[in-house]
């Protein structure tokens, strides 16, 4: 059964300013419980804003560091999930359900990637 890393991408310049609507929190809680009870969810979490992040790069034999926020990137990873599904179609279906519970006016995207098993 393949594992999938799903990266949830958001635009940090265009975030909903106010609190999460309570019914959204509820729907999210219920869905996460459902994915867990299906034996599919291995791990999931949201990330702190990129202002708390640092990028390291290795180029020309040198390491360089860039502290966040990463304003030049339109969409940054704001959360992830690690799931184990029968196939990609199942991973996509769970991801669809995850996106669908977000408020209509939000913009969120998800990238489903299969993990290469060694």
């Amino acid at each position: 059964m393949p594992r999938f890393l799903t990266m949830i991408r958001i635009d940090e310049q265009d975030l909903p300013s106010d609190e999460f609507p309570p019914e959204f929190e509820q729907r999210m809680g219920a869905l996460l419980e459902e994915i867990t009870k299906a034996g599919v969810m291995l791990d999931t979490a949201g990330l702190l804003p990129t202002s708390a992040g640092t990028r390291l790069s290795w180029s020309g034999g040198k390491i360089s560091y860039t502290d966040g926020p990463f304003t030049e990137t339109k969409e940054v990873v704001g959360g992830y999930s690690l799931t184990q599904c029968k196939d990609k179609a199942e991973a996509i279906e769970w991801t669809r359900r995850f996106l669908e519970i977000h408020p209509v006016e939000w913009k969120v995207s998800a990238e489903v990637r299969e993990i290469q098993e060694m």
Partner: protein
């Protein structure tokens, strides 16, 4: 992704829940499965044109339940059934309304307890559970157990018939029966995992797909029965065991012993999940086995293994589930904690156990102890005997190799 693929993915996710929900109406898992399949066919016909509904799971469930109710109404025992179904009729939500998650959980538990019912032979329990709860096709089950599809299909048909004939109620048992019935559920999942982990026949040492199916079932059960320490114990045990799968076989599929495994290849996330589940486990046999597996997982190097603790845990396990195989494992732990001379009498005492007469691990362990005691001639004979007893080609090669090196 094609529409058909999308429908199938939805169906796979929902299938156990639909079968369970329908079984509550029709009180027969065999018929429930047929009706669930009917609902899938309806979805395959309608969704590609009309689009996938907002709540595909609810759509399938409602469609299936309405069919179930029609069927119950058509049965001869109309009046009696209707009285039973009266309550269920009101249970069917309109397609755009989610069912109560607690009801779904109860239905799923009823389904797994029914498919693991002791009225069925072990093989039938395994096949039915993988089919109904795990959503495996008969082809997948047949491949996993190296048998023909016809055999598995036949097994499942007979199992459904046996349940109907015995009038097994679609319920989770309470009171005195509960403990025994839960053992049966845990055992089915454990057996499926083990068949994948230590393939009893064939050329592959491990069939990881089967381990994953069992692990998924264990995770589902622990999530459905959060108050049940042994459900967490089983989940913890399987998470720990699964964490080592990649390291247990070498490049040519040959077995790699625990002492020689590259621990960098152990899956850290599964170890972490195992530790978390172990925190919610109890003192039952699966929980104790999980604690033992946790000791191995916690050792960064083989030399760091806490053998005295493992030997003590095996001592507890022997009291909970006395068996020659557990005794043999305890002897191995004692040999590591106190030395081979302390363990040899324990192993020799097992030599007369009829249950172990054809068990290749007994001469294999004895050979190992004798080798460590410098009694190489005797050790070689034991390894050769073990090689003649194993049914696994990869294991035979390993044992003959150990004999040849002496």
């Amino acid at each position: 992704m094609s529409a058909a693929q999308a429908v199938e993915a939805v169906f796979r996710i929902e299938s156990a829940r639909i079968i369970a929900g329908v079984a509550r109406v029709v009180r027969d898992v065999g018929i429930a499965e047929e009706i669930a399949q009917d609902a899938l066919v309806a979805a395959l016909e309608q969704w590609p044109q009309a689009g996938v509904p907002d709540r595909p799971g609810a759509w399938l469930m409602t469609t299936a339940k309405h069919r179930a109710i029609d069927l119950v109404r058509r049965r001869e025992t109309y009046a009696r059934k209707l009285a039973e179904v009266g309550r269920s009729l009101e249970d069917v939500p309109p397609p755009d309304e989610p069912a109560d998650p607690e009801d779904i959980d109860d239905d799923l538990l009823r389904l797994i307890f029914t498919s693991c019912h002791p009225v069925l032979a072990t093989e039938a329990r395994i096949a039915l559970t993988l089919r109904l709860m795990g959503g495996l096709t008969t082809q997948e089950i047949a491949r996993a157990f190296l048998t023909s599809e016809a055999t598995v299909a036949q097994r499942i048909v007979r199992a459904k018939r046996a349940l109907a004939k015995a009038g097994v109620p679609f319920e989770v048992p309470y009171g005195a029966e509960r403990e025994a019935r839960l053992s049966s559920v845990l055992e089915v999942i454990y057996l499926v995992f083990n068949e994948g982990y230590a393939a009893t026949a064939g050329d592959d040492l491990v069939r990881p797909a089967l381990c994953e199916d069992a692990l998924r079932l264990a995770r589902v059960l622990a999530a459905l029965m959060p108050e049940e320490p042994e459900a967490h114990g089983l989940a913890a045990l399987l998470e720990f065991q699964a964490s080592r799968i990649a390291a247990r076989t070498g490049p040519d599929g040959e077995p790699v012993l625990l002492a020689d495994q590259n621990r960098a290849r152990w899956n850290r996330m599964l170890i972490h999940r195992g530790a978390r589940a172990l925190g919610r486990a109890g003192n039952g046999p699966y929980s104790v086995q999980a604690a033992i597996a946790g000791c191995h997982a916690a050792a960064v190097r083989y030399e760091d293994t806490d053998w005295p603790r493992i030997a003590a845990l095996y001592g507890r396990l022997v009291q909970l589930v006395p068996s020659p195989v557990v005794e043999l494992n305890r002897a191995v732990a004692v040999s590591m904690a106190e030395g081979p001379e302390a363990a040899l009498p324990l192993v020799d005492a097992l030599a007369r156990e009829p249950a172990l007469r054809a068990y290749h691990l007994l001469p294999s362990v004895r050979g190992d102890l004798l080798e460590r005691l410098g009694r190489t001639g005797e050790a070689r004979a034991e390894f050769e005997r073990a090689a003649s007893l194993t049914h696994n080609a990869q294991e035979r090669t390993l044992l003959l190799g150990r004999a040849a090196r002496l």
